[in-house]
């Protein structure tokens, strides 16, 4: 097992270099003007100003030269400076990643828990009203676009009923907790700011629900299908014959076995949400990696685009590894090698 993990870890830098190379050339071949974030419209007629901007940002060099410089800097951990924010990409990512992680963790907690509960309920009450209701809720969550459900829920709970604060991570008038992890809920608790913790949590409720809802849909359907399969097995019949109660049969005997295929989806969903929370972040003005990626793509901010691609790739590689290891633990028949 250790050897397997080690082999996977040492292959990561090569895979990341491949991702960086792809992102570099794809973004450079895009028919868009990287100077749009660097030179004002007014100055586009001034060749001296255009030349100075190109020189400052290395855009006057040939593409292979730019690539060589990028890779050389990448090896030392330098992801370059963003054209748009004018700050090191690493600083931008370090500032925004905790916001996305916090949102994704809460979304996954909600999505996984509700998905499993709904899946179990749906399988237990197979083809009965509870099953239909659970399936409808799950289907709705995975098919309704976030920009619609997000805006609608924001309107209802923020404007109409005033129960939930508006977009953002924290009320702009509240004091931010001292930086420890960058996750406001955790940092607030660590610093003993309970009011700030509640405010941060309050801001998280809606975006985490909207983002997690799509996961609920996927997981509940998978759990339902697996549970229906498992509930028909002989050992379940044997458990019931031995007098095990319904709850014990479902939760102790059926669910652990039905959960094995779900693990893959949970791992995949976590990585997917880190890079795929774009719309949720846009609707809820959440200053995370997703909105950073969108803004960078719109302005053809090469260093930021490549930086975000690397973060996304790292998230996928690590969660895949963790999922594989968890899979092996959950099912002793699987041997990693």
């Amino acid at each position: 097992m250790t050897q397997y993990v080690f082999r996977r870890l040492i292959s990561m830098p090569l895979l990341l270099l491949g991702v960086a190379t792809m992102a570099f050339f794809l973004s450079h071949f895009t028919q868009a003007d990287p100077l749009s974030a660097l030179v004002s419209e007014r100055q586009m007629g001034n060749p001296e100003v255009v030349a100075a901007a190109k020189q400052r940002w290395g855009l006057d060099r040939s593409m292979p030269e730019q690539y060589a410089i990028y890779v050389k800097n990448l090896v030392t951990g330098d992801l370059g400076v963003s054209f748009r924010t004018r700050r090191p990409v690493l600083t931008d990512i370090a500032e925004r990643l905790p916001a996305t992680l916090e949102l994704v963790i809460f979304a996954m907690l909600f999505g996984t828990t509700s998905g499993i509960v709904l899946g179990v309920v749906a399988s237990r009450f197979h083809d009965r009203p509870a099953d239909y209701a659970a399936r409808f809720f799950a289907l709705f969550g995975s098919t309704v676009p976030v920009f619609w459900s997000g805006l609608l829920l924001l309107y209802l709970f923020t404007v109409k009923f005033g129960l939930i604060p508006g977009p953002g991570r924290l009320d702009a008038r509240a004091d931010q907790p001292p930086f420890v992890t960058g996750m406001f809920t955790l940092d607030a608790l660590l610093s003993g700011q309970f009011g700030t913790f509640l405010d941060a949590l309050h801001h998280l409720v809606l975006p985490a629900f909207v983002l997690g809802w799509s996961v609920t849909g996927i997981i509940s359907r998978l759990v339902r299908a697996s549970m229906l399969d498992v509930l028909g097995q002989d050992y379940i019949l044997a458990a019931r014959a031995k007098g095990a109660g319904e709850a014990r049969t479902l939760l102790r005997h059926a669910l652990p076995n039905a959960m094995i295929p779900t693990l893959t989806i949970v791992g995949y969903s976590f990585a997917y949400l880190i890079t795929g929370a774009v719309l949720t972040e846009a609707v809820f003005a959440w200053p995370g990696i997703g909105s950073y990626a969108v803004d960078s793509a719109r302005t053809l901010d090469y260093p930021a685009i490549i930086g975000v691609s690397l973060i996304g790739a790292t998230a996928f590689l690590l969660t895949n590894l963790v999922t594989d290891v968890a899979y092996a633990y959950a099912n002793p028949r699987i041997k990693l090698g």
Binding site: R42, Q43, G45, R86, P167
Partner: protein
């Protein structure tokens, strides 16, 4: 069978668990929104889609930059609330020689930077030289500066290469804000001829400010939040609001939601249609004329044109557009038409009548140009909502209007960066974009739109390949207008505006009104031609 008392315990435990869970959930969901309960003494929150690209006065160029820089960096001169008169700021007085080529500014000895040090002539020289030599966003403001002398620490003498009656006015631009040269030089600032490659102060200026304005930078997180706090050492009249927070809020609907639930105090980019839908007695909607301009541009030099876009065709296009219909459709009638690509109220702006919507005339012109059967034009435009105008909506209406004269527009909404690549590359036959002034003055319009060598739109219109597009009148008129003073200058700019309008390359569609949406108790919101919105004027109860 389990004993009965055990069942009772289990049920009681479950009940307790349900009660605890319900209490926790209620406390999260029903926890009162801080915004609605804790306004007093707290910062004023402005919901805005921030387009900040830098906080360095020599490198920034954007609408939010104008607000930030004008609040943090005082300039030599300011624009008064009438949006016309130039008034003293760091310079208590100034004089010009007879042909306005040498200007002498006397600094106010009371003026200090936020660190308490005095604003001196050397700071002005360093700031202007840096702005020019960095070759950044707004270096064009100092294009015709020949030299800057500092005979003593309170006197700055600026010599120009040619007379320029608008030069003093151009120094009201926020990008001409005076920088504390010692502080910035200490952190990599460079003003010499090599500044474009040697200056390294931008990153320091993203976290610190070094101006003499009423506010200082407290913190900045790109595309998330910008915090300004009052400069307690401010040498002028102290503003009443202690702290402002700009909160990144992408669209008008989200901005309105924040305002309505008390999380924001001011929203700045709410379009008239969204503003009309606000039904909340605690929210106030005000409109004021702006100097922003939304326009269509026709490029005769674009590649692969199906028919030459000659003067007659351009006149036909200009006549076929239903301008009033577009204003009603896009900004609910809250906007003004412009006779020329110079805003009403600026020198030479607003003179004469805007072109009339006349489909019959347009059809006649198409026939005269041998294009009665029409043709198809690619119309690539930035997919934005700028100054309250939804560009897709506007372009769809123009598509409908031009269809009446058999010009079929193929609409291609794209990102701004893609639009820039296209418009500066092969050119776009018909497009739409926007313009906002940097200061009160009309030369900036001529220098950008006029059909003369060196302007952005001359190149985009195809002037490089077709020099006949150049209007020989334009540079002469511009030079004469800049050499003249007062009414005479305005008259010459009026003629220049007529030339720009008659080229029919730039077709102004609308100058949308600025919409200010705020909570009750906020006052002092106004649109400034140089600075967008003046934070130090804002008051809050």
């Amino acid at each position: 069978m389990q004993p009965k008392h055990l069942d009772t315990r289990v049920v009681a435990a479950r009940r307790r668990a349900v009660i605890v869970a319900a209490t926790m959930l209620t406390s999260i969901v029903a926890f009162p929104t801080l915004g609605s309960t804790q306004n007093a003494g707290k910062p004023i929150v402005i919901a805005r889609d921030m387009d900040l690209n830098s906080l360095d006065p020599s490198r920034a160029f954007c609408d939010t930059c104008q607000i930030y820089l004008s609040s943090v960096y005082d300039r030599l001169v300011d624009l008064s609330p009438d949006n016309k008169s130039i008034v003293p700021m760091l310079a208590k007085e100034w004089t010009a020689n007879s042909d306005a080529t040498v200007l002498t500014f006397k600094l106010d000895p009371k003026a200090t930077f936020s660190d308490g040090s005095q604003v001196e002539a050397k700071d002005v020289k360093w700031t202007f030289e840096r702005l020019k030599n960095i070759k950044g966003g707004m270096a064009y403001l100092l294009d015709n500066v020949k030299s800057i002398e500092t005979p003593d620490k309170e006197t700055v003498v600026i010599a120009l290469t040619a007379p320029n009656s608008e030069f003093v006015g151009s120094l009201t631009a926020p990008y001409a804000g005076i920088i504390n040269s010692d502080a910035v030089a200490e952190h990599g600032g460079e003003a010499g001829p090599e500044a474009s490659s040697k200056d390294n102060a931008e990153q320091w200026l993203l976290a610190n400010s070094a101006g003499a304005g009423p506010y200082v930078l407290e913190s900045y997180s790109p595309n998330h939040e910008l915090r300004l706090k009052r400069n307690d050492n401010y040498w002028g009249k102290k503003p009443s609001v202690e702290e402002f927070v700009f909160l990144q809020t992408k669209d008008a609907v989200s901005q309105t939601q924040l305002l309505e639930n008390g999380s924001a105090d001011i929203a700045m980019q709410v379009d008239p249609t969204t503003a009309k839908a606000i039904n909340n007695e605690n929210v106030i909607v005000e409109t004021a004329p702006s100097f922003n301009m939304v326009y269509v541009a026709v490029s005769p030099g674009a590649k692969n044109l199906p028919h030459p876009l000659d003067a007659k065709i351009r006149e036909a296009i200009a006549s076929a557009i239903d301008y009033d219909g577009i204003i009603d459709l896009t900004v609910d009638g809250k906007g003004k038409r412009l006779p020329a690509p110079i805003p009403n109220g600026f020198p030479g702006g607003g003179i004469g009548e805007p072109i009339k919507h006349d489909v019959e005339k347009a059809k006649g012109l198409m026939k005269e140009a041998g294009a009665a059967d029409g043709f198809t034009l690619a119309a690539t435009y930035p997919n934005v909502n700028q100054y309250g105008v939804d560009y897709t909506l506007m372009m769809q209406k123009i598509q409908q209007d031009l269809a009446e004269i058999n010009i079929k527009l193929e609409l291609q909404p794209v990102e701004f960066s893609v639009w820039r690549e296209k418009v500066n590359g092969d050119g776009i036959p018909l497009t739409a974009v926007f313009f906002a002034p940097d200061y009160y003055g009309s030369s900036q319009y001529a220098q950008y739109f006029a059909m003369m060598d060196g302007t952005v739109w001359y190149k985009r219109a195809g002037g490089k390949n077709d020099p006949s597009l150049a209007n020989p009148e334009t540079p002469k008129l511009l030079a004469a207008a800049l050499a003249a003073q007062g009414e005479k200058s305005g008259e010459l700019f009026g003629k220049l505006a007529g030339v720009l309008a008659n080229d029919r390359i730039i077709l102004p569609i609308v100058s949308p009104d600025a919409v200010f949406v705020s909570r009750k108790g906020i006052s002092g919101l106004r649109f400034s031609a140089c600075c967008n919105m003046v934070l130090s004027d804002i008051q809050a109860k």
